[in-house]
């Protein structure tokens, strides 16, 4: 159980990380060449128009003042207006994020449901054919570009077999029936009471979620396998065998629990990494989420939106890291909280 002091120290570390993140993103958005006002207005705008917008955006103030402005607005959740959608960026983020969250959560579920059993199977057949086959599969999932696996799934399961639709979240036929309550399509379709729409939402999300889950599955398989093998070799497991406990009981009660700590760390980090993978998968599947919004704002030089999206992604990463640290030290008190030794 982590002590309160440790948690506080880690919390302050997290705050520093978030501050650093805000500076980094501020620097990227303001100091790098390219005038955001010029980019917003396009090459056709006159110099006066550019100067006027620059003044409006506060771009002619000294940089430290601009940073203070930016932080003040950031703290109240004001991220400015998106040049692309004309909405406030905060509003855009709130409407786009659930789609991404839904996608990465399902991808995460696939990663766990396939990755952990495969790792256990590989460990049980340590050195055998199944182990090698799993190892090769794990290598493949880490090596394959996510857009490539996305396209292959579209080709095979969409175009050729015609099992699943290849883009979007919901067929247009159902879009009127479904009330947007939570932003999670799988939940909203249920709330609307339409079974057909619910099934339709599932058929849309399965391919992108599976394609997205590939990127991290290899890591899950390998870490589960190696920690299982590590724990199997420990003296206390040998002792259990000596007592004549059945293998399944040893695996179930002792090995799995202790082998789970390294896996848990990786799992937490992978959940955040899926957010990065979503940037590619959402493009392939035209998934109307945060990542697609982010890429579009990058391509159209929509500075406020880029800042908003990167801030949100960074925030999720920092918080997930914090939670993972707490959880691992809760499960295994011997592990000091990370960051203390650094």
């Amino acid at each position: 159980m982590p002590r309160i002091g440790q948690i506080l120290r880690r919390l302050s570390g997290m705050t520093v990380s978030l501050l650093g993140l805000s500076v980094l993103i501020f620097v990227i958005s303001r100091v790098l060449p390219g005038n955001p006002a010029r980019m917003a207005l396009g090459a056709m705008a006159s110099d006066e128009q550019v100067a006027e917008l620059a003044a409006e955006m506060g771009l002619n103030k000294p940089l430290p003042l601009q940073y203070v402005d930016y932080m003040r607005r950031l703290l109240v959740g004001d991220l400015g207006q998106s040049l692309q959608t004309k909405n406030s960026v905060a509003h855009d983020l709130v409407t786009k994020f659930p789609a991404t969250l839904e996608l990465i959560t399902l991808a995460f579920t696939f990663m766990v449901v396939f990755g952990i059993p495969l790792g256990i199977i590989a460990a049980k057949h340590h050195g055998g054919i199944l182990d090698n086959a799993t190892r090769f599969f794990a290598f493949s999932t880490v090596s394959v570009p996510s857009f490539f696996i996305g396209i292959v799934f579209q080709l095979v399961f969409g175009y050729f077999l015609n099992w699943f639709p290849i883009t979007g979240r919901l067929s247009s036929a159902y879009s009127d029936e479904v009330v947007r309550a939570t932003g999670f399509m799988l939940v909203d379709t249920l709330l609307s009471g339409s079974v057909a729409a619910h099934v339709d939402a599932w058929s849309h999300i399965l391919l992108p979620a599976l394609a997205l889950s590939f990127s991290g599955m290899g890591q899950i398989i390998r870490i589960t396998r190696s920690s299982m093998i590590d724990v199997e070799g420990q003296d206390y497991i040998e002792a259990m065998r000596g007592y004549g406990l059945p293998t399944w009981m040893i695996t179930d009660k002792y090995t799995l629990k202790n082998a789970f700590v390294p896996t848990l760390t990786i799992l937490g980090l992978q959940y955040a990494w899926l957010l990065s993978g979503a940037f590619i998968i959402e493009i392939v599947y035209s998934w109307p989420g945060l990542a697609k919004y982010g890429v579009q704002s990058v391509l159209t030089s929509d500075v406020n939106a880029v800042v908003g999206v990167t801030m949100l992604v960074g925030f999720v990463f920092v918080v997930v890291n914090f939670v993972v640290d707490l959880l691992t030290s809760y499960i295994d008190p011997r592990i000091g909280l990370a960051g203390e030794s650094a």
Partner: protein
């Protein structure tokens, strides 16, 4: 997960060439050669590198790489003349893939060539100096590490015109962080070693200790990490190009070619599939090789 848990075998690094050392090398070689996957990885990486270097001599239609058009020969499915088929402009896809490998490997060379030395330097200084120098360097490193490279590269690339050079710069400006962490962990754990203390007592300068004592002992984990990273750099570059922020047409970026081909799915599937598969093969090669090296040097490297 912390780098402080690194364990490594330094016995292979003693500088005396002796029969014992030759024996050790031979045994390492046997250990490496006994793993089919590492050997396959090595073969893949070497073959692709050679193909990329000699691309103008071995590609079947080197004149078709760039803005060449031959619409009469567009959309040919794979055949003996065009093993990977032709694209919408009638260009031979195999030729473009071979030249695409050139760009991918150039990206790896630039990113790692800049990132590794800078990161290692910062990390060694932080780990050996400790104190506030360490705190400042590692805080900055942590901040960079708080964002996934792809997202950060996107943000940086957004401030410029999208080109290959910008993508390289964006990725290279992020990649030092991993090596800073790695080298810092190593330097911090090594600075308590007796040989470092002996050098200090003998009055060795800081630079001597950093570069002649600490650095050589960091090399094997760094090599393993760099090999595994090469694959990730290829993937990141290809992803940026796929989105439209990296290599621009008519240059033959592998990710760019996949993106271009998506408009012609499913009928002309080969336009996307072969370049995509080509990326996969190269990354797989780096990963298998890196994994073999990891076993060979007996190091644990965080990925």
């Amino acid at each position: 997960m912390s780098i402080d848990t690194l364990s490594f075998d330094t016995s292979g690094l003693d500088r005396i060439v002796s029969p014992a050392r030759r024996e050790l090398w031979y045994r390492s070689y046997r250990r490496f050669a006994n793993q089919p996957m590492s050997v396959i990885g090595l073969v893949i990486v070497v073959t692709i590198t050679l193909a990329a270097v000699f691309a103008p001599y071995i590609a079947p239609y080197p004149e078709q790489v760039g803005s060449f058009t031959d619409f009469a020969n567009a959309y040919h499915p794979p055949s003996l003349d065009h093993p990977f088929g032709t694209d919408s402009a009638g260009r031979d896809i195999l030729t473009r893939v071979i030249f695409g490998y050139r760009i991918a490997l150039l990206l790896v060379a630039v990113v790692l060539g800049l990132g590794v030395p800078v990161g290692v330097m910062l990390g060694l200084v932080a780990g050996y100096a400790g104190g506030w120098v360490d705190t400042i360097i590692m805080r900055i490193t942590d901040t960079f590490l708080a964002l996934p490279p792809l997202v950060l590269a996107l943000a940086i690339a957004s401030a410029f015109e999208p080109t290959l050079e910008i993508a390289m710069f964006a990725i290279a400006s992020l990649w030092w962080t991993w090596y800073a962490r790695l080298a810092r962990g190593l330097a911090a754990s090594l600075s308590d070693e007796e040989y470092v203390q002996a050098a200090e007592l003998a009055g060795a300068s800081r630079t001597h200790i950093l570069f002649r004592e600490l650095l050589p002992n960091c090399l094997s984990p760094l090599l393993v990490k760099a090999t595994l990273d090469a694959g990730i750099v290829v993937l990141t570059g290809a992803s940026l190009s796929f989105i439209g922020l990296g290599v621009q047409p008519p240059r033959p970026g592998l990710g760019t070619m996949v993106a271009d081909g998506t408009q012609y799915l499913p009928a002309e599937w080969w336009i996307s599939i072969f370049p995509g598969f080509a990326i996969f093969v190269l990354v797989m090669g780096f990963n298998m090789l890196g994994d073999g090296l990891r076993d060979l040097f007996d190091v644990e490297v965080e990925q």
